[in-house]
Structures are given as structure tokens and as C-alpha cells.
């Protein structure tokens, strides 16, 4: 019944539609397209994102990850703080192809974004300091890397000479310290809580570190490096002299945990090396109680077939850091009061300053102990030959013991330890007995990663030839 009615209705209308329908249809077709076509309103606006950066959130993002620089195992394996417990390729010096690009597109570009946006002067200065810190760790690992053309959206940035990167970083630190004011606020700073005074101290100590790091190239007390050191030391902002001012990451635990804690959650790839245990043990140094979970260091630089059965037969082998210092909410220290004092002692030894070398040295050691919650060692510790500074300041003759103390104080920051060793040669390290690289020597740098070769071929090839070959045996500029 229904269908026949429908049929009748449609039949009746056909004659009309025949003449009208076609124009209508085309009309719909054209107006429909016009209406729907050119204007999609906010269809293409991403509902899950904002288009303007929130600087505090960028800063927190960088600071949440910066502890990683103090917990890099590769540097620690090269400088023999650590041993590999099962897969021993890094400590056997297999080719260190690591890419630095992620550090640029990650933290460095967040910092650059803060600097470029520049809505708060003090946040800009803070970002410059962090940027200088990260760049210094990058160039210490690879040598020449992109710097002056980096972070500008230039997709094939040239590589800069390490000397220019060092000069650039020190200049950034100097300018940032000078440019801090009292009026602009800092938010999102989970390291120093926006305390400008502390940032100035950190920047000055870092400037001293960089100046000392290039001392092989500029040894003279009237040369550029010594001048930088003295300027940093003399800066009104001061430097880190108390552990309460340390540049450190205090992890809240939970979703942000100490990397040393996370390292052992479901793996056990690394331990404190037997070499480190021996170095500290030779001095009867109480800091070993903090450095490892036991005094049984893992044999260094041995093949899997040796070390794997060894760790099984010695199940209490030393994990990196004592249990108390390896909690979810433990800290990772990046620049410390101990470092300031020991750098100043070294500067005095080099004749760059006329400060009291011995006093600074002993305070540096005591502050290092205190950093781990340990009381200062007794006088016998300081007087033993492996510690005492026997020669007068100003000659550089005390470098062995000063460097060794810097090396111990920097533990477990492997990048620091490796840089101190490369700069000074102390403590004396013997290469891995089972090394697999052709030279069988401890690597002096990382080789450029495949990412550089894939996306910045011309620039990396030029850099490789400029530094004298992209090998792990090539010394970076300050190491030459």
C-alpha cells in the first residue's frame, strides 16, 4: 500500500523534476562545494597543543633531563670508574659511534627557544648558562661540533673548532652573569628555585672548569685561560663554595627518578670497576662507602666470557653507588663545591693565582666527603704521599695528586672523570686488557655518529678531516 502510494507520488513528480531536477542538482553541486570548500573553520587547529611556548615548562623540561649528563656510563667506562658486567663492548673500546644531534634538538633547542622568546631577562641568562654547560659536555666528547650555526634552523650547520666553542661558552657565561637583574622573575626552575645568586655561582665555577680544561693549550699565567679563570674567581657573584650551593638534580622520585636507581631496576649491566676501588682503596679513602654497594669492584675491560662467570661467582659485586645513595630520590651532582676548591688549588699550583693551594686542596677534599654525608678524613689521610702536595705552588708539580682528587670528587660523573684524565693523564690508567680496537688505547673522543654522516655529510666530512681523522684515537683540541 505504502509502496504504491510512493510510486504514484514519485511518478507524478517526475515530469516536473525532469525539467527542474538537473539544474537543481548542479546547483547543489556547485554551491555545496563553494560553501564547504574554501573555509574549513578551525578544522585544522590542533586541539591538543598550544602555539605559544610556556617558558617555565620548557625550562623544567630541560632541567628534568639534565641529570643525565652526570650519569653517562660511556665516559665512566673510559675513565675506569665503572666496568661492564655482561656485555663488555664499550669498555673494550669498540667504535663509539654516538650521535649528538638529539641533544641539540632536545634540551639545547628548548633553551634556545627561551633565549629567543626572551620574555624574562633572568630566564634568558639562566638558559644561556645551561646552554654553555651542555655545549661544553658535547665538545668534550666529540671535539669539533656545530656551534655558531647550530640551533638556528640551518639544516646543515658547519662544525666549529673546539677552541671557538670554548671561547663562546665562556663568553656566554661571563655575559649571562653580568646581565642578571633583580626585577625579572624565574619560574619552572626546579634546580635552584629561581635563585639568581646561586646561578651566578654555578656559572663562575663552570667558567673556572672550562678555563682549566684548556690549560694544556694555554698554560701560561698571562695567557687567555688563566685570565678567564681569575676573572671568574674575582666575579662579585662568587662561586660554589658550599655543598648547599651545588648544581645538582634532586629527583622527586616516582615519575622522575635518579638515573642510577633506574639503571638497576630491571638490569645489572654496570658496576664500580676494580680499578676505581683500587684507586680509592690505595688512599684508604672513606668515600668508597658511598661509591659502591660493596668493595668488590668488577674486573675492568675483560671479555664477556670472563666477566660474566665472575659476576656470578661474586654476586655481591659493587653496584655503582651505595644503596643509600642510589634511591629514587637521590641527587645527581653536576658542579660542586669540591670542584671549585680543587680547581682553585690547581690554578694556584699552575701559578695562575696566588691563592693558598694547600688550604684550598684540603677544603676541597673535606667538602667532597661532606657531599656524601661523610665527615672529613683525619690528618693522616692528607699527609700520605698519594694525597699530600709536597711541592710548593706555582710550578704545576702537584698536578698528579690534585687531578686524582678531582677525579675522585667527580665520581660518578663519568664525563668529568674522563675529561680530567685526558687533560692531566692522572690517575694513570692502563687500557683494558681485552681491548678490541686497533690501537688498544683508551678512546680520546667519540667518533661522529651515523646521523651526522646521514644528514650533514659535507660538514661532518670536513670536520673529520680538520681534526685529523674521525677516530676514537684522535685527540680533541684541548687534549693535544
Amino acid at each position: 500500500m505504502l509502496s504504491s502510494t510512493l510510486k504514484e507520488m514519485t511518478m507524478r513528480n517526475f515530469s516536473i523534476q525532469k525539467t527542474i531536477l538537473i539544474p537543481i542538482a548542479f546547483g547543489i553541486l556547485l554551491t555545496g562545494c563553494k560553501r564547504y570548500s574554501s573555509d574549513f573553520g578551525d578544522t585544522n587547529v590542533n586541539p591538543a597543543a598550544t602555539t605559544s611556548p610556556i617558558l617555565s615548562a620548557l625550562l623544567t623540561n630541560v632541567e628534568a633531563g639534565i641529570g643525565g649528563y652526570g650519569a653517562q656510563t660511556r665516559g665512566g667506562l673510559y675513565c675506569q670508574y665503572f666496568s661492564e658486567t655482561q656485555y663488555t663492548d664499550v669498555s673494550l673500546y669498540s667504535i663509539p659511534q654516538v650521535s649528538f644531534e638529539g641533544e641539540y634538538s632536545g634540551s639545547l633547542n628548548d633553551l634556545q627557544n627561551i633565549i629567543n622568546t626572551n620574555t624574562s631577562n633572568n630566564m634568558t641568562q639562566l638558559a644561556r648558562i645551561l646552554k654553555a654547560y651542555i655545549f661544553s659536555t658535547i665538545t668534550d666528547r666529540w671535539g669539533d661540533v656545530p656551534y655558531s650555526q647550530a640551533l638556528k634552523g640551518d639544516i646543515t650547520p658547519a662544525f666549529d673548532k673546539q677552541e671557538n666553542i670554548y671561547r663562546g661558552c665562556m663568553q656566554e657565561l661571563t655575559q649571562a652573569v653580568a646581565a642578571f637583574n633583580t626585577s625579572s622573575s624565574i619560574s619552572g626552575d626546579v634546580l635552584y628555585g629561581g635563585d639568581v645568586a646561586k646561578w651566578k655561582k654555578m656559572a663562575n665555577t663552570l667558567r673556572m672548569r672550562l678555563a682549566i680544561q684548556v690549560s694544556k693549550r694555554f698554560p701560561a699565567s698571562n695567557a687567555w685561560a688563566a685570565g678567564e679563570f681569575r676573572a671568574a674567581l674575582a666575579d662579585a657573584g662568587g662561586s660554589i663554595t658550599a655543598n648547599t650551593d651545588n648544581f645538582e638534580v634532586k629527583y622527586p622520585g616516582g615519575n622522575f627518578r635518579s638515573p642510577w636507581y633506574a639503571m638497576y631496576e630491571t638490569r645489572k649491566d654496570y658496576g664500580e670497576s676494580d680499578r676505581m676501588v683500587a684507586t680509592v682503596g690505595a688512599l684508604g679513602d672513606g668515600r668508597q662507602s658511598a661509591f659502591g654497594s660493596s668493595n668488590q669492584g668488577v674486573p675492568y675491560g675483560r671479555v664477556r666470557g670472563f666477566v660474566d662467570p665472575w659476576t656470578q661467582a661474586n654476586p655481591n659485586w659493587a653496584r655503582i653507588l651505595s644503596d643509600a645513595n642510589r634511591q629514587q630520590n637521590s641527587s645527581v651532582v653536576l658542579v660542586s663545591a669540591a670542584e671549585t676548591h680543587l680547581l682553585r688549588a690547581e690554578a694556584a699550583d699552575r701559578g695562575w693565582t696566588t691563592e693558598n693551594m694547600n688550604a684550598l686542596y684540603q677544603v676541597g677534599i673535606a667538602v667532597s666527603f661532606a657531599q656524601w654525608g661523610l665527615s672529613a678524613p683525619d690528618a693522616a689521610y692528607y699527609s700520605q704521599s698519594g694525597v699530600a702536595l709536597a711541592t710548593a705552588a706555582g710550578t704545576g708539580a702537584n698536578i698528579r695528586n690534585i687531578a686524582t682528587q678531582q677525579y675522585i670528587a667527580a665520581y660518578p660523573d663519568g664525563l668529568r672523570g674522563w675529561s680530567i684524565w685526558r687533560r692531566t693523564g692522572f690517575p694513570v690508567l692502563t687500557p683494558a686488557p681485552d681491548a678490541v680496537n686497533a690501537s688498544r688505547q683508551i678512546p680520546r673522543r667519540y667518533t661522529y655518529g651515523t646521523t651526522s654522516y646521514a644528514t650533514n655529510t659535507t660538514a661532518v666530512t670536513a670536520a673529520a678531516s680538520a681534526i685529523g681523522g674521525d677516530t676514537q684515537d684522535t685527540k680533541v683540541w684541548w687534549d693535544q
Binding site: 623544567t60 644531534e101 630491571t266 656470578q312 655529510t457
Partner: protein, 1066 residues
């Protein structure tokens, strides 16, 4: 009525022309199976006119004895029949398979036309060809059957996996462009969300010339499926039942060594009981064990000596405290897998009357997988119906619903708990039978027993878990009991339409189309897994996600068909307005669970991680397509489409796709008897592409879901977006010739095509030192050219014996990255995909080379000679090009032999060229599992013997100065050094293979002889899937099933299936 009227007029005409003896002949046209063929045309030989059979295949015409009737029609062999004395005749006409010019090609929006009038090399696969063995995977079912297609299948252990297809090489600067799957006009993101029994035919449209009507979506080509509709005049009640069962077994596995046991220590070690050790271990005092903790097989030679197996250390099983003989277990990896069982059943009902037709189907697939605890259950429902409301108005509905539940973990990445162990980190002496038997063995404190526990030297009475728990691995059977992923998918799609015939030549149709998909998935990882191993990385967890994607199209289509004199004009104009909304929510626990084995997000140890995603996309398109034919032998066709797209910058929001072509059926003019059909054709097309939702203007900052003491986190976006980004074009042109000889007994098609992708809007990985990792811009130029060849032949075509062969061959002569960026920068290479980061060989695009180079760390060479260092290790070269991932040649060969009631079908496919990197073999050799780690050297000694005793691997080459080096290196050092020095040449393989993919032998049961009247037809078939991998350049994998574009990291094994199928038509 009108049809009858015209028929009557013609009959009158015949009567007038005819002589006295003519009489009325009533006939029926039927196919080989006796099913009547509607609409066939019947002509008196020599006469210019004829009649058409009606919907039941019946015709009437005037003829006299001795006259020859010629029957022809779409998809039919031209058949001649001599009139005899009978007034009633039955003419059997054979259906042809893709033979002449009568194949129907389907493009977008349901537009179907005869292949005669198509200027591109559209290839059609019919239901019979597609379902040689009733595949459940569309991509696999097309392998070898279409020229220019590369099917990248996946192991059938990965239930529900679709694999992927390349048409005429690859485009773009990513990992590949992907192709469009279309079912009756609806875009289908998952080609397996369909019951393959419902498919009438599949048209494969390669290149922009063929697929322009789809606009930007079709830039990579399209696979267009047409579903079966009810047909008038079928015999019986229209019910088809299809019952199938198939068993799958592991077929291709890597070649393992079977001489040396597990561990990193070459000798058995003596166990000495000590105070503090369990009392039960006293029985083992003085016995020997191999290194259990190292998951490698550099252990002692297996010669049947007594040893303590892994399970003896666990109390409470029947092997506790016992020893066994150390013997090879050559089949342990193979033994692990189940025999997969698949039931594939479907039923369809169809009915057509004068003004309605309806087809309904139900399909059910029930699969038990090769991996324990894995299963797939899929139900498909389909209904296609149309009703002619009036003579002019037709309403139609097309509704498909698919629901699928897949259980099981199919991880085929590095360190997965099947191949990730068997092929990479494993003990060759493990007995899988005992492994299975002991899957529930636990210690008193509930720790699951593992073959990879530590050595007894590590036993510590105060921390027994340290010893008993697995070091890296679990008992494989226990693992799959404890990890439970489920994914449920519910998809419906289809359309409702109204079409109206304004006049004989003009029709209008409106369609509302929907494609909606809901996915729900969750995974639980038990607390027992967290406890059961110390270094597996598994923490107890729960994760869940739901997502919905929803596409709505509103389409209007006007078609005009008119014959004016010698010209036939067909034109279509239409609009298509789309909105696509995708929304999803996900959550997972972080850092473990508070209450063991309580699986809720709220039970997360730390703040759970949550995510939600939304995307909104629209386009509006108008298009027109059509063709003009002159006397049915000269033909021109064109397509023009304009898209306005929401993802493009508003100032340039529209882009235009176009194609134009022509064909010339020269056989019509030539009239040369042996040539049944000959066509020359040429076409060219251009399709632009969009840029992706929310890409422009870019620079959007998201907020992290966890906070640091109340401070929230935000990262600077890593992608730069070119402010001038625009949609841009991929173009192709092709010329071809189609020839059929000797009444279609022999045929060939040759197509040469050439094209380029220019200024592709693409995301180019850039050097991170710029501050960004990718740049979305219009980039580069890729040029491609190649040939598509198709051959067919019917060596025997008799009444009882029919033999048909088809072959396809696609040649990819060039698929070259000419430039990547034209801004003068030296970004000549972009990295795409790596299985082991960029340490292992990975895939890049390199200016001046073929698309998809496998590139990276290899052996340094001087004048072709490998360079060796002082230790006899190869020296690294980080810039080695190993070759393109694309095979140069692909093809297939199908044959069908029909003899009386028997029918044999076979399909083989092959490819030549293309490279891949095997991470499995890299680690498998590092850890002494692969056969190559236990061969004899050229002195006839085992390479694992020490060098001083004549063992070692013989290495040749030169030193850094080019001086000859020739020495022996210890086997373990040699294979370890390959990794340490990052010299991976031995692990880059070739994708060349020849594979017999499908075989079926069917028998049409003589049910009529048996007196069965309730069924029309019954066919019983025995089928085999992947029966023989005839040739592969690497023996360790099935090269047709490599998991990733650049290689594999833990490929699942190749499998072989055997089954049976019964199809009954009622």
C-alpha cells in the same frame, strides 16, 4: 516492457527478411555449470542484428536448420551453434577469464566500464583467481597475480597481520606511500576487514593515470574491490555455503648449529656442594654443568656426555637433582610452535527479482595461532540490497560489519620471547618437550623456573631469587601464560543511496557513506613475570586504549551516456564531501603495580601515563570523468578532480588531479583472423597529495602528562614547517598494447610506464644540530619507470580438458632519488628506518641512487679488498651502500587445469633483487647459534677449535697500507668482532625468491549422480598455502615475509599451510 517491445520489433524485422523455412527457435544460454547466462547476445551469423537473452538466459529468434547462431556477451567466449531440427535449443557458452575486451574495470564512486574503453593498464582479478585457496588476507591473495605488484607478506604466526603492497615501486621520502583500498566505493583502512568470499572482483589501479578519480588519496594507486550482488536467473535457491579448514606449521627457520651447547664458557664446569646450598643439591655434587647464565651457545661440544640440565636445580619436579646426556636438539625452535588451526566458514544468501535484489552473507574465521595462547576470531556480516522503487528510482543499501578479537603477543622485534630468543640468544641444547612439561614449575617463593638462571656459584641463601629467576629469559611457555594482550576491533562501513534515471541517458545518484571503526585493546603483564627474571625488563603492568575513527562521505553523482551517430559519450560529474574524525584515549601504569596482579590503571605504582588524541579532517571535492568512443574502436577518456582540503594552508587549499588517455582497438580495422583483439593505449595522469592533519602551520606545543613537583613540562616541537608548503604532484604516463590471438587462446599485454614524484610535501629528517629533527616541505624529485607484462595462454581448451596459464612480470627499471632538496643545501641523504638504530645497516634515501638504500656500517675496502686490523678484525666503514630495498623484478605464474570434474590451480610468485638487514643473524652469530658459527674451516677443522690447533676462521684482505693479510681468527673473536667493529656485511641479504604460494585441487562432486536434488553443486578442494619455497637467496628466512622495510629484528618463522574446503551451492 520497453525491452520486450524492442525485441518484438526486431523479431518482426527478422520475419520480414527471412525466407519460408524459418521458424521460431527458443533457446537458453548457459555456462559450463549449466547456470543460465542473462543478457547474452545471440546473432545469426552474417546478419547485422540479433536478439538479447532475457534475465533467465532465454531468447527467441527466427532461424532455419543449418543457420549458425553466434552467442557473445560480457565475459563470454564467442560460441557458435548450428541450428538443427529442434525448436528448443540449449547453448553452452564458456565464461572467459580476463581474456578479451569485455573485462569490467571498477574505479572510484562505483564507476564501472569495459576494459575496452580504458586507456590505462587496469588489471582485474576475479573472485576465482583471488580465492585460489580461499585466502583470508587480501594482499597475500593478490601475490603474483598482478603485474607490477610487490606483496610484502608477514608470517602467519602474526595473526591478523595484513602485510603491505607496493605498486610500481615506491614513492615519497618516507618508508613508503601506501595504497588505497576501496570496497564498493568506501575507503577501507584495513584490507582484511572484509570476507574474501564476498568479493566479485578486484581492480588494481596503478599510478595516477588510473587512480586520478580518487584524488590525493589515490596517489599511490588503488585496489578497488567490488562485492558480489544477487543476480537474476541463478539456479537453485541462492544459498552458498563455504566450509574450510587449514593447518599451519612452521616451515622456514634460520639454520642453526647443532654441535655446541649453551653458555659463554667452552667447557662443562664441576659443581661442588657447599654449606648453605639446598640439601637437595647434594645429589649433584661432583657432576658437571654448562654456563646457564650467558644466553649464548659458545658452550661445550654436545657429544652425549653427562651434565646437569637447567631444571635439575629446581625442587619438586620429576627431574629434580637428575642429570642428562648433553645432546643436540636440532628441532627445539621448531618444536616450540603450535600447529595453527584455522576454520573459515561462510554462508551467503542471494535473491534477485525483477525489481529487487538482495545478498546477505555471514563469515566466521576461528584461528588458533602458532604462538601459544594466540587466537583470532572474526565475524563478518554483509548485506547488499537494492530496490527499484519505480522504473526510474532505485534505493540501495550496502552494509558491512566486521568484529574481530585477537589475543596473543606477536612481537617480532629484538629480544621478543620467541624468535628473539631462538634466533638471537638461546641455548642450542634445550629440550622443548621438557620446557613445556615444566612450564608451571615454581620455587617455594613462587619464582617461575627458567632455563636461563644463573650458575650455582651465584647462589645466595639470603637472596635465592637472584639464582632461581631467569637472567634474561623465561620459560617460553610460562611467559605466554603470563602476558595477555587483547585487541578487539568493530568496524562497520557501507552506504545508502538513491539513484534516479532522469532519462535513458541521464542518471543522478546521491550517496551517504560511512566507515566507522572502534578499537579496544588492553595488555596485562603479571607480577609473576616481574619476579621471574632479573633482567628481562618486564615490570607488572596494565595498559588499555580505545579509539574511534569515523569517516562520513556525502556524494552526488550525475552520469550521462549517449550514443550519437558513431560516437558514444559517457560522462560523470560528482561531488564528494568528507569529514574524518579520529579520537582515542589510552592509559598505562608506570613503574609497576602496588597490589600484585590487580590490573587497573589506579593500581599504578607511580602516576599513570595517560594520552588522548584527536584529529579532524575534511575535504570537499568535485570531479568529472568520462570517455568518448568512435565506432567502439577509438576511445578517449579523461578525469579531472579538484579537492579543497582542510590540512592545506587556507591560501592554497585546493589541488587538482587529472588524467587523460586514449586507446585504439586496431583489431577492429585490421580484421586479421588470427588476431582476436588488439589495442594500443596511452595515458598520463597527475595526482597531488595533501600534507597531513595539523601539520600546517606547525609549531604546536603539547604538555607532558606528568609533573615535577607541580611543575609541568613542555618540549619545543622538533619539526620545522615550510610556510610555503603546498600540495604537489606525482605524475605518470604509460603506453601499452594488449593482444589476443587465436580466439583468445593466447594473449599478452605490455605496458611501459614512466613517472616522477616532484616537490612532494614530505617530512625530511634533518640534522638535529639545526635544533630540529625534521622539515616538512616540498622536496625533491623521484623518477620511476618500468614495464608491466602480462601473458595468458590456453594450450588446451577442449570440452573435457582445459588448461590455462597466466603469467605476470613487473620490471622496475628505475626508482631513483634524483634530488632530495632543491634549496642548494647538501642534505643529499635522509635516514628512514633502522632496526638497530643507525648502528646496524639502516634505510636511507640518497640522491643519485635507487629509492630505499640499505646503508651504514660495513667493511672498509681498498680496491674491493676488505681491510683488516692487527687483530684480524675487519675495519669499519660507516658509509657503505648495500643496495636498494626494492626488488627490481616481481612476477607470478598461475596455471589452471580442468579435467572433467577436477580442477587444479597453482600460483607461484617470485622476485629478484632488493636487500634487507638481518638483526637476528647478527646476534645469532654473535652468540654462536647460527650454523655459520660451527662450520669447518678450509683446513678441515672446526672453526671453534683454537687457532694454534688448526681452528679459527680464515680471513683474507689487506691492511691499512694495502698489504696482503691472510690469517686465522678464533671463531668467537671473529663473530664478536663483526659487532664490535660494526662490520655488518655478512648480515645483509638479498630478497630474491621463487615461491609456490598456492595450490588447490578441486573436485566437483557428482551429486546429481548420487541423486542429491537439494543441492546444485558441491566442490571439494584440497589446498596448500606456501607449500614450497622453491628458491631463496638466503636460507634463513622467507624473503617474502620480512617484517620491516629495511630488514628484520626477530622475524617470525615462515609457515606452510594445508587444508580442505567444501563449497556447496543450494
Amino acid at each position: 516492457m520497453r525491452k520486450f517491445a524492442s525485441l518484438f520489433t526486431m523479431l518482426m524485422l527478422f520475419t520480414a527478411l527471412a525466407f519460408g523455412q524459418t521458424r521460431t527457435i527458443t533457446g537458453t544460454v548457459v555456462d559450463e555449470n549449466g547456470v543460465s547466462i542473462p543478457g547474452a547476445s545471440v546473432q545469426l551469423k552474417g546478419a547485422r542484428t540479433g536478439v538479447a537473452a532475457d534475465n533467465t538466459g532465454t531468447f527467441r529468434l527466427q532461424a532455419k536448420a543449418g543457420d549458425v547462431l553466434v552467442v557473445s556477451g560480457a565475459g563470454l567466449e564467442i560460441t557458435e551453434f548450428t541450428v538443427g531440427a529442434d525448436n528448443t535449443v540449449r547453448i553452452q557458452a564458456s565464461r572467459v577469464i580476463a581474456a578479451g575486451g569485455e573485462v569490467i574495470v571498477t574505479s572510484g564512486y562505483g564507476i564501472r566500464k569495459s576494459l575496452r574503453n580504458v586507456s590505462s593498464n587496469a588489471q582485474v582479478v576475479t573472485a576465482e583467481q583471488l580465492n585460489t585457496i580461499r585466502q583470508t588476507n587480501l594482499n597475500n591473495a593478490l601475490a603474483g597475480k598482478v603485474s607490477g605488484i610487490q606483496v610484502r607478506s608477514q608470517s602467519s604466526a602474526k595473526l591478523g597481520s595484513t602485510g603491505s603492497i607496493r605498486l610500481r615501486g615506491e614513492s615519497g621520502f618516507g618508508g613508503g606511500q601506501g595504497i588505497l583500498y576501496v570496497v564498493d566505493g568506501t575507503i577501507l583502512p584495513n584490507p582484511n576487514d572484509i570476507n574474501l568470499d564476498d568479493i566479485e572482483d578486484v581492480t588494481v589501479l596503478q599510478g595516477p593515470a588510473a587512480a586520478a578519480i580518487f584524488g590525493p588519496q589515490g596517489a599511490g594507486g588503488a585496489i578497488v574491490m567490488t562485492l558480489k550482488k544477487a543476480k537474476k536467473g541463478q539456479k537453485g535457491i541462492g544459498v552458498d555455503v563455504n566450509l574450510g579448514v587449514q593447518n599451519d606449521k612452521v616451515y622456514v627457520l634460520p639454520n642453526y648449529q647443532n654441535s655446541y651447547a649453551g653458555g659463554g664458557v667452552g667447557d662443562l664446569m664441576k659443581y661442588t656442594w657447599q654449606p648453605g646450598h639446598p640439601e637437595s643439591w647434594k645429589r649433584l655434587d661432583g657432576k658437571y654443568y654448562h654456563d646457564y647464565a650467558d644466553d649464548a651457545s659458545w658452550g661445550p661440544r654436545m657429544v652425549g656426555q653427562e651434565y646437569i640440565p637447567w631444571y635439575s636445580w629446581y625442587d619438586g619436579n620429576r627431574y629434580s637433582g637428575t642429570t642428562a646426556k648433553l645432546l643436540p636438539q636440532p628441532n627445539n625452535a621448531r618444536d616450540y610452535y603450535n600447529t595453527g588451526v584455522m576454520l573459515n566458514n561462510s554462508v551467503s544468501v542471494s535473491k534477485a527479482t525483477d525489481n529487487t535484489n538482495i545478498r546477505m552473507s555471514f563469515g566466521n574465521i576461528d584461528q588458533k595461532g602458532l604462538i601459544p595462547k594466540s587466537s583470532l576470531k572474526k565475524n563478518t556480516f554483509s548485506m547488499i540490497a537494492s530496490v527499484d522503487v519505480t522504473e526510474k528510482l532505485t534505493a540501495a543499501i550496502n552494509f558491512n560489519y566486521i568484529t574481530q578479537i585477537v589475543k596473543g603477543q606477536f612481537d617480532d622485534g629484538y629480544s621478543n620471547q620467541t624468535t628473539g630468543s631462538f634466533n638471537q640468544w638461546f641455548h642450542r641444547n634445550l629440550d622443548m618437550g621438557i620446557m613445556k612439561e615444566l612450564k608451571d614449575v615454581r620455587t617455594a617463593s613462587g619464582i617461575m623456573a627458567s632455563w636461563n638462571h644463573l650458575n650455582p656459584t651465584a647462589y645466595n641463601p639470603s637472596n635465592t631469587r637472584q639464582f632461581y629467576a631467569g637472567n634474561y629469559w623465561y620459560n617460553f611457555y610460562s611467559f605466554f601464560d603470563q602476558l595477555k594482550p587483547v585487541t578487539q576491533t568493530d568496524r562497520y562501513y557501507g552506504d545508502i543511496s538513491l539513484s534516479y534515471k532522469i532519462s535513458e541517458s541521464l542518471r543522478i545518484k546521491g550517496t551517504y557513506r560511512k566507515q566507522n571503526n572502534n578499537v579496544w585493546s588492553e595488555q596485562t603483564v603479571s607480577s609473576d613475570l616481574q619476579q621471574g627474571a632479573t633482567q628481562s625488563g618486564y615490570l607488572a603492568s596494565y595498559s588499555t586504549s580505545t579509539s574511534n575513527s569515523n569517516r562520513t562521505n556525502m556524494e552526488l553523482l550525475i552520469t550521462y551516456n549517449k550514443k550519437i551517430g558513431d560516437f558514444t559519450i559517457g560522462a560523470t560529474g560528482g561531488t564528494d564531501i568528507l569529514r574524518q574524525l579520529i579520537k582515542g584515549n589510552s592509559a598505562n601504569t608506570v613503574n609497576g603495580l602496588n597490589v600484585p596482579n590487580l590490573f587497573t590503571i589506579g593500581n599504578s605504582k607511580d602516576q599513570p601515563s595517560v594520552g588522548n588524541s584527536r584529529s579532524d579532517y575534511r575535504y570537499s571535492a568535485i570531479y568529472t570523468t568520462g570517455n568518448v568512443s568512435y565506432k567502439n574502436f577509438l576511445n578517449a577518456d579523461f578525469t579531472l578532480r579538484q579537492d579543497w582540503m582542510s590540512d592545506l594552508p587556507p591560501s592554497k587549499s585546493f589541488i587538482i588531479s587529472k588524467s587523460v588517455g586514449a586507446s585504439f582497438i586496431f583489431s577492429e580495422l585490421l580484421k586479421w583472423q588470427p588476431l582476436s583483439f588488439g589495442k594500443l593505449r596511452a595515458t598520463l595522469g597527475q595526482i597531488p597529495t595533501g600534507i597531513g592533519t595539523y601539520v600546517y602551520p606547525g609549531f604546536a606545543y603539547g604538555v607532558g602528562s606528568v609533573q615535577w613537583n607541580g611543575n609541568f613540562l613542555m618540549g619545543t616541537p622538533d619539526q620545522l614547517v615550510d610556510p610555503n608548503i603546498r600540495g604537489s604532484v606525482t605524475s605518470q604516463k604509460e603506453i601499452g598494447i594488449d593482444l589476443r590471438f587465436l580466439k583468445n587462446r593466447l594473449g599478452a599485454s605490455v605496458t611501459y610506464w614512466t613517472g616522477d614524484d616532484k616537490d612532494f610535501p614530505t617530512s625530511i629528517p634533518i640534522n638535529g644540530a639545526s635544533g630540529y629533527t625534521s622539515l616538512r616541505t616540498n622536496a625533491g624529485l623521484i623518477t620511476k619507470r618500468g614495464y608491466n607484462l602480462q601473458f595468458m595462454g590456453r594450450p588446451v581448451w577442449g570440452k573435457n580438458l582445459k588448461w590455462e596459464v597466466n603469467a605476470t612480470w613487473g620490471i622496475l627499471s628505475e626508482n631513483k632519488v634524483v634530488t632530495i632538496s632543491d634549496d642548494g643545501k647538501d642534505d643529499t641523504r635522509i635516514a628512514i628506518e633502522g632496526l638497530w638504530g643507525s648502528t646496524g645497516p639502516y634505510m636511507v634515501h640518497q640522491e643519485g641512487r635507487q629509492w630505499g638504500q640499505i646503508f651504514g656500517n660495513g667493511i672498509k675496502r681498498i680496491n674491493g679488498q676488505p681491510v683488516l686490523d692487527a687483530n684480524g678484525a675487519y675495519v669499519n666503514d660507516p658509509n657503505v651502500f648495500f643496495g636498494s630495498a626494492l626488488p627490481k623484478h616481481t612476477g607470478g605464474f598461475q596455471t589452471q587445469v580442468e579435467y572433467k570434474g577436477f580442477i587444479l590451480n597453482a600460483n607461484a610468485d617470485w622476485q629478484i633483487g632488493g636487500k634487507f638487514f638481518s638483526l637476528s643473524n647478527m646476534w645469532g652469530s654473535f652468540s654462536g647459534l647460527t650454523a655459520r658459527t660451527a662450520v669447518l674451516n678450509d683446513k678441515g677443522n672446526p672453526i671453534r677449535d683454537i687457532v694454534a690447533n688448526g681452528g679459527g676462521v680464515h680471513v683474507f684482505g689487506v691492511d691499512a697500507n694495502g698489504n696482503k693479510v691472510d690469517k686465522y681468527v678464533g671463531a668467537q673473536d671473529y663473530f664478536h668482532n663483526l659487532y664490535y667493529s660494526k662490520t655488518f656485511d655478512p648480515y645483509v641479504y638479498d630478497l630474491t625468491f621463487v615461491k609456490l604460494r598456492e595450490v588447490s585441487v578441486g573436485y566437483t562432486l557428482p551429486i546429481k549422480k548420487w541423486g542429491v536434488n537439494w543441492a546444485q553443486r558441491a566442490v571439494l578442494s584440497l589446498v596448500a598455502r606456501n607449500p614450497i619455497l622453491i628458491y631463496a637467496k638466503t636460507n634463513d628466512f622467507d624473503p617474502s615475509e620480512i617484517s620491516n622495510i629495511s630488514g628484520e629484528a626477530g622475524n617470525m618463522p615462515g609457515t606452510r599451510g594445508l587444508g580442505a574446503n567444501l563449497k556447496i551451492s543450494f
